[in-house]
Symmetry: none
Subunit: 222 residues, 4 copies
Amino acid sequence: MATPWARPRPRESDNGQVPAAKKKTTTANASPERRRELLDIAAEVFAAQGYNATTVRRIADEAGMLAGSLYYHFDSKESMLDEILSTFLTELWDGYDAVLAAGLGPRETIEALVTESFREIDRHRAAVAIYQKESKHLADQPRFGYLTDSRQKFEKAWLGTLERGVADGVFRADLDIRLTYRFVRDTVWVAASWYRPGGQHSPEEIARQYLSMVLDGIAVRE
Amino acid sequence: MATPWARPRPRESDNGQVPAAKKKTTTANASPERRRELLDIAAEVFAAQGYNATTVRRIADEAGMLAGSLYYHFDSKESMLDEILSTFLTELWDGYDAVLAAGLGPRETIEALVTESFREIDRHRAAVAIYQKESKHLADQPRFGYLTDSRQKFEKAWLGTLERGVADGVFRADLDIRLTYRFVRDTVWVAASWYRPGGQHSPEEIARQYLSMVLDGIAVRE
Amino acid sequence: MATPWARPRPRESDNGQVPAAKKKTTTANASPERRRELLDIAAEVFAAQGYNATTVRRIADEAGMLAGSLYYHFDSKESMLDEILSTFLTELWDGYDAVLAAGLGPRETIEALVTESFREIDRHRAAVAIYQKESKHLADQPRFGYLTDSRQKFEKAWLGTLERGVADGVFRADLDIRLTYRFVRDTVWVAASWYRPGGQHSPEEIARQYLSMVLDGIAVRE
Amino acid sequence: MATPWARPRPRESDNGQVPAAKKKTTTANASPERRRELLDIAAEVFAAQGYNATTVRRIADEAGMLAGSLYYHFDSKESMLDEILSTFLTELWDGYDAVLAAGLGPRETIEALVTESFREIDRHRAAVAIYQKESKHLADQPRFGYLTDSRQKFEKAWLGTLERGVADGVFRADLDIRLTYRFVRDTVWVAASWYRPGGQHSPEEIARQYLSMVLDGIAVRE
DNA sequence: CATGAATGAGAATTCATTCAT
DNA sequence: GATGAATGAATTCTCATTCAT
């Protein structure tokens, strides 16, 4: 499902009237499966070493090919990063939008968003880790403007839900609401830095424990 | 005060057997104040752009000198990073050790550690941000082994306190203790990514709100 | 008809001693018409962008195929260039030789050569443009030695005619004869840089005007 | 003297309000003499091999340094080309403008322009040769827009003078005036391809002979 | 202390070319 | 005949670092 914040990134056909021969046949010829494979490899390395510290050669090594060969599939190192992040965000918003459209109460919405977030971390661990580390400075570049768009929509969704919860009396009113927002937000996403798919806890189980802490605190109630 | 985890980092000579002689006597002559100034500038840029993405020229520009001139003050870009991080950790542990030596109860210890952490974030924002972003992959290098040491000591302090709290019945026993540890740890440190010194809340005030959330949760108690 | 200056350019085997065997039987199987088409396309692109700046992919794009597919028809990019130039020169010399064999007077010979030249420009505009831009540095390579041969034969024909004209008293004797040669030669060939076939003037008309200027000058005779 | 067509290419200081440290200290630090030296070398190689076919390493070799070292002096290979061409055009127009401002008759203006052109060829042989070979396709790029500007101003000056000459009855009226323009223009500039400074003829002498041919033709007047 | 001019080891990227299908 | 996927060498450019002045 198309989400409004995701800029349309033309992949295959850009033309329509262009004199045929002009389209840059360069990139994106390859089969989607191979692209996916290579992007998964790249994401893993980016997440582990950081985007800048990752050489194209390293990715190619990991994929069992030569550095130059990657350019048959992708325009540039940056476009790999781009595709990794935008694919992740598209799927994330597919999930979030479904949650937000469900018309749940504030507490249930927060619960559902947290759970959905851990599911995304489970599915896109590498992309999430990259997002955490790189999004801030990438957002400056026009190409990655959608990161800013997403961040804003994200804030609106979470902050709005928290405010609704305070208004409804289900969340404490004595907290700085923006501080609370950051607390909840970070609480969830930082998990990407240590989470390993296939561990002993399912994403849902982790979500449950996190929610328990965030909602009820870690102190024993006297 | 020297802390046990901080390995003695020789500035000039790293060897141990070669008396001296050939060493490039160049570095580290400069006045300590100038060093501090330059390191502060470097830390700011490292934090903003990431260590790898930061060029030595950029730092020099910011300091109003030419890239080569930095090498009068420092051996290398890496040694700047090293000094920034180790200085920060030394001060952090000065504070933590004082807290841990005070013999407080588990809840009070957690409160004191969180408060101390926000004070460190206030004082070393840039260094903390760098630490967050870079420490994981730096820890591989022998030179930055102290990062691993610190991390372990850190885990022992926090995790131990939490366990003591569970045993004492002041923290909930129904939570996965390691998950809880990560939750609290991340909750505090991630703040460095958005915290700006001189904002409307003092570190102590932020600590209080965070503690309130972490300990009691954000949901209203019925 | 084979012209003496055109070295016999073996297509398949360039050696002379190795019988055959290992040769990549690939190339030059294609139908002559397809070859021609592709060479015309290539010539157009070479002329427009320069040989070096032209990628094999660009040519393939323009021909509606993939870069690799060109290698079914040609050994290499260089061999395309080679064939374009040698074909042009072969035809040029067919024309020139006919003129030179006609036994005309110096002035009529010059007129006929100029006219023939404009006809060649009309027919091989792209090849002429390529020749102008690239021949000087290509001439170094053994493969393109025939460019040097052609240039020398060319000089002999034109310079000789001019000298004969001076001796006969139909051309001015007060001019540096080599300077005059270059003047006339360039005067004709540079036209390839702006000439467009199918324009308002026929090659013969352009030749007439050029000749009028070259022979009589642009100033009004008092 | 500043000429209107020459876009102002900021060299040293771009700022004024920019936060100081931001200015890209990268390039153009070097002493003007060294820059000149290197540009002269580069121009020579560009002229001989073509811009595209010239590697940065080749230039560096010729200059006795490593390829990377060139980047202390220049931003890029392209910026070298840019500086070579714009310097040449600036000087050319200094000369042309002086001629055009002198208020001479059409014939004398043409004579002066031709003479000035040969002087420029004498002084900037390499730049002229580069201009001839590369200007057409460079003109597309915005960075080299001034080439188009110059070409237009050039055409206006020469074509206008020719038209004035026809009107005044000093040039023949029976010639296609645009054809004549190209004839004269090319006649002069193509000389750059064979001219070698320090040869047996001075630029003025060559100009005189060329003018004699262009104005009076090469045929003996009966 | 700082500058100016380099070095040299990569880095990303390009491109002609190959070859199995 | 043509495609898809690679290779591998070359190219431009970057940057930490050095060092004589």
